[in-house]
C-alpha cells in the first residue's frame, strides 16, 4: 500500500490483504540496508490471522521515496507520522536490528501510541566496528559481504526462506544491493550514533519481547543483557542455530514467538 508520510511516497507491504486500521496494528520495521521483504513470511501470517499489517520500507529504502533518515530518533518520529497517515492510533512495533532501536525509542517517546515492542536481533548500544562503518562509506560491496557473512550461522537452513529452493545468503545480498548507494552508511551510522537506548528503554512501560539468535555475532546474546535489564516488562526468547538474520534462518521459530506475543 502507498501512503504519504512527511510528503514522501511511502510503501508498506500489508501481508497480502488490504490494510484494515480497525484491526490491532502491527508495524514491521526492517534493519539497515534492508526492505520490507525480510519479513515476508511473518508479516503475511499475521495479516491472515487478525492483525492489520504494515511492513514498511523506511524512507529511501525499497519503494519508499525521500532521503534515508539519519538518526534513530528521526525514524522513531517518522513511525508516528506513518501511523497518522494510516489512521492508526496504537500499534505494536516489531523491529529487526536498526528497527529494534527505532522500536525502543518510539515506545519511549510516544508511550500512548505503542502497545508492545518486539526487538529481533538487538543490542544497545549497537556499536558498529570501525572497519565495517568505514566500509559502508568507502566500499559498499565489501560492507555488504561483511554483513551478509556475519549475519548467517550456516550455509543452509531448513526450511529455507521465503521457501524451498531459495539460497538465503544470495537473497540477502541481493536485497542489500537493491538499496540506493549511500543508504548503507546512513543506516549504520544511525545505529552507531544512537546512545540514548538504555535511557529510553528505562522509560518503556509497554511489554517488550527480545528475540535473540544464539549464534548472532552482529548483536551477540551477551550484548542484549543491558537492554533486557533496563526494560520493565520483558520476556526473552532465544533461538538456536541462527545468526543475526533470524527471520530468514529460523522463520518458523520467529513466527511462533511473535504469534504468542503480539
Amino acid at each position: 500500500m502507498e501512503l504519504t508520510v512527511h510528503k514522501h511516497a511511502t510503501y508498506a507491504y500489508t501481508g497480502g490483504k488490504p490494510f484494515d486500521p480497525a484491526l490491532p496494528t502491527v508495524v514491521f520495521i526492517h534493519g539497515a540496508e534492508h526492505d520490507h521483504s525480510v519479513w515476508a513470511l511473518q508479516s503475511r501470517y499475521l495479516a491472515h490471522h487478525g492483525r492489520g499489517v504494515l511492513a514498511v520500507d523506511l524512507p529511501g529504502h525499497g519503494r519508499s521515496e525521500g532521503p534515508p533518515l539519519e538518526s534513530v530518533e528521526a525514524i522513531a518520529d517518522w513511525v508516528i507520522a506513518l501511523l497518522d497517515a494510516a489512521g492508526v492510533q496504537r500499534a505494536t512495533l516489531i523491529g529487526h536490528s536498526m528497527g529494534s532501536l527505532v522500536s525502543i525509542e518510539c515506545a519511549a517517546r510516544h508511550p500512548e501510541r505503542i502497545a508492545k515492542i518486539v526487538l529481533v536481533g538487538t543490542a544497545v548500544p549497537m556499536k558498529v566496528s570501525e572497519e565495517l562503518l568505514n566500509a559502508t562509506r568507502d566500499d559498499e560491496p565489501l560492507a555488504q559481504d561483511m554483513v551478509n557473512i556475519w549475519s548467517h550461522a550456516a550455509y543452509a537452513q531448513y526450511p529455507s526462506n521465503p521457501g524451498p529452493g531459495f539460497w538465503v545468503m544470495g537473497g540477502n545480498l541481493r536485497v542489500m544491493q537493491r538499496q540506493k548507494p549511500g543508504v548503507m552508511h546512513v543506516d549504520f551510522k544511525a545505529c552507531n550514533d544512537y546512545v540514548n537506548g538504555i535511557t529510553a528503554a528505562g522509560k518503556v512501560a509497554a511489554p517488550a519481547m527480545l528475540i535473540v539468535g544464539k549464534r548472532d555475532v552482529m548483536t551477540p546474546p551477551r550484548a542484549t543483557k543491558e537492554i533486557a535489564a533496563a526494560l520493565a516488562d520483558k520476556r526473552i526468547v532465544e533461538i538456536a542455530g541462527t545468526g543475526h538474520a533470524l527471520m530468514a534462518e529460523k522463520p518458523d521459530e520467529v513466527l511462533d514467538a511473535l504469534r504468542d506475543f503480539v
Binding site: 497480502g16 503475511r44 559481504d145 550455509y155 521465503p162 524451498p164 529452493g165 537493491r178 518458523d252 513466527l255
Partner: protein
C-alpha cells in the same frame, strides 16, 4: 574482525544448501522419496498453502532433496534461487513460460542445441510465442530484433555447434537498455568455468544431464534466478508485478523484492506444467555436483591435449575450439573463460562423410551417442546421424561440414584417448 569471505567454490559444491539431516544426523543428503508431507495441524497447513510459512506440501512443487540441489546450484551461480526440473528442456520451458505467453516475442541466438531450436522455432509458436533468431556474434542483430512485445533475449554461453562464445556483457547491456532480461543456457560451461550473473545475465538454466551430473545416469534441469533484474522497474512483466488470481492474488515482486521470478516459476509453472525433478534424480545430480570442480579441471586438461593432438594430425583438416587462435571468439574466450572453454568441440576430418563414418566405426573408447558432458568420452558425426537427411549444402548452412565430427572429452587417460583417435584417423584415410 578480519574481513570475512564466503566459502570458495569447491567448498560450496559440497556444502551449500545442506546440513546433516536434522532428524537422523545423516551426513549425505537423504533421498526424500515421498510425494507429500503430513501437516502439523490445520493452521500450519493453511499457512503453508498461503506462503505464510516455508515448507513442503507436495513433491511436484518442492521436495527436501530437490531443495538441497536447488539451493546449491543457486549458491554456485551466485543467484537467489534454483528450481529443479525434469530435464534441461523443462527448465528452458519453465523459464520462458514464466515471463512470456501468447503474443510475446523472444530474441534468440541461432546457434542453439537442436532441442532448444525445436521448442522455439516449431512448438512455442503454437502457443503464441514467436522467436527471431540472430547470429549471436552480431550485436546489432540482437538490438534490431527487439520488438515492443519482446520479453527476453536467449542464448547459449557456448553455442552449438560452432562454440560461439556469447558476449554476455554486451548482449546483457542490449537487453537491459530495452528493459529486458538475458536468459542463458550455461550447460556447456557450468558455474565452474563461467558464472554468467557476474557478467550481466539475469536467468540461467542447465541441462543437469551433462557436466553437473557428470555420470550420464540421470536426465534433469536446473533453472536459476539471479535476483538482479528489476521486474517492477522494467514494467513489462505483469506476471511478476501485479496480483495473480491463480495464487491468492499474490503480487510476487511485492512478496519478494529479489525472488519474484522464482516464486512465480514454482507457484505457477512447477505447479501447473508439472515438469518437476524426481528426488532420486536430485540425489544423483548432487553426487555429481560434489566433484564438479575437479572433474571440470580434468575435462579441460584432457580436451586441451586432444585438441593439440588433432591440430597436428595429417588426417585433420581443421579443429574448432575457442582456445585456438583460429577460432573467431579466441579473444572473448580468454576474457570470459580463463579456466577453459569446456570439453566439447568439433573437428573436420579429411575425406568427408565416408571418412567420418569410418572413424566412428573404428574408435574403441569413444562412445557413439547423442549426448555430451559424460565422464566417458563421446563422439558423433552429425552428417551421418543427427543431420543425415541434409545434403552437403544444407549442412554447411547449419555450420556443419560433411566431415565435421563432434567430440565430448571425458575423464579417461588422455594418452589412451589420443591413441584411440589416432588409430581411427589412420583407418579413416584408407578407404
Amino acid at each position: 574482525m578480519a574481513a570475512p569471505r564466503y566459502y570458495n567454490f569447491d567448498t560450496l559444491s559440497l556444502h551449500a544448501g545442506q546440513q546433516p539431516d536434522p532428524h537422523t544426523g545423516a551426513r549425505a543428503t537423504p533421498i526424500y522419496q515421498t510425494t507429500s508431507y503430513v501437516f502439523r495441524d490445520t493452521d500450519q497447513a493453511a499457512a503453508l498453502f498461503n506462503m505464510e510459512r516455508a515448507g513442503h506440501v507436495y513433491s511436484r512443487i518442492s521436495n527436501p532433496t530437490n531443495a538441497v540441489l536447488e539451493e546449491r546450484i543457486a549458491a554456485l551461480e551466485g543467484g537467489v534461487a534454483g528450481l529443479a526440473t525434469a530435464s534441461g528442456q523443462a527448465a528452458l520451458h519453465l523459464g520462458l513460460a514464466t515471463i512470456a505467453g501468447a503474443g510475446s516475442h523472444v530474441v534468440a541466438s541461432r546457434s542453439l542445441y537442436g532441442g532448444s531450436h525445436n521448442l522455439l522455432h516449431y512448438t512455442l509458436p503454437r502457443f503464441g510465442i514467436e522467436t527471431t533468431f540472430v547470429d549471436p556474434r552480431d550485436l546489432g542483430a540482437w538490438k534490431n530484433a527487439i520488438r515492443p512485445n519482446t520479453k527476453v533475449l536467449y542464448a547459449e554461453t557456448l553455442g552449438n555447434p560452432g562454440l560461439d562464445v556469447l558476449n554476455i556483457p554486451e548482449v546483457a547491456a542490449i537487453a537491459h537498455a530495452a528493459k529486458l532480461p538475458l536468459f542463458v543456457d550455461s550447460t556447456f560451461t557450468t558455474p565452474y568455468l563461467l558464472r554468467p550473473f557476474e557478467h550481466g545475465a539475469d536467468l540461467i538454466y542447465h541441462s543437469a544431464t551433462k557436466f553437473l551430473g557428470g555420470h550420464g545416469i540421470a536426465i534433469g534441469g536446473l533453472l536459476v534466478d539471479g535476483g538482479i533484474f528489476d521486474w517492477e522497474a522494467s514494467g513489462k512483466f505483469p506476471e511478476l508485478t501485479e496480483p495473480y488470481d491463480g495464487f491468492h492474488g499474490m503480487d510476487f515482486q511485492e512478496e519478494s523484492t529479489v525472488g519474484a521470478f522464482s516464486l512465480r516459476a514454482r507457484r505457477e509453472g512447477l505447479r501447473d506444467f508439472g515438469a518437476c525433478m524426481a528426488p532420486t534424480t536430485a540425489f544423483h545430480i548432487l553426487q555429481g555436483l560434489e566433484t564438479l570442480p575437479i572433474r571440470m579441471d580434468r575435462h579441460v586438461a584432457n580436451t586441451r591435449k586432444v585438441v593439440e593432438f588433432l591440430t597436428r594430425h595429417p588426417a585433420v583438416e581443421s579443429v574448432s575450439y575457442p582456445e585456438l587462435e583460429s577460432h573467431p571468439d579466441y579473444a572473448l574466450a580468454k576474457k570470459l573463460l580463463p579456466k577453459g572453454a569446456s570439453a566439447v568441440f568439433t573437428f573436420v576430418i579429411k575425406g568427408g562423410r565416408p571418412a567420418g563414418r569410418k572413424l566412428i566405426e573404428t574408435v574403441k573408447i569413444f562412445s557413439h551417442l547423442a549426448n555430451v558432458g559424460d565422464a566417458k568420452s563421446l563422439v558423433i558425426h552429425p552428417a551421418s546421424t543427427t543431420h543425415f537427411r541434409m545434403d552437403d549444402a544444407a549442412l554447411l548452412a547449419a555450420g556443419i561440414g560433411p566431415g565435421t565430427i563432434r567430440l565430448s572429452i571425458g575423464l579417461e587417460d588422455p594418452q589412451d584417448l589420443m591413441d584411440d583417435l589416432g588409430a581411427a584417423l589412420r583407418m579413416s584415410q584408407k578407404i
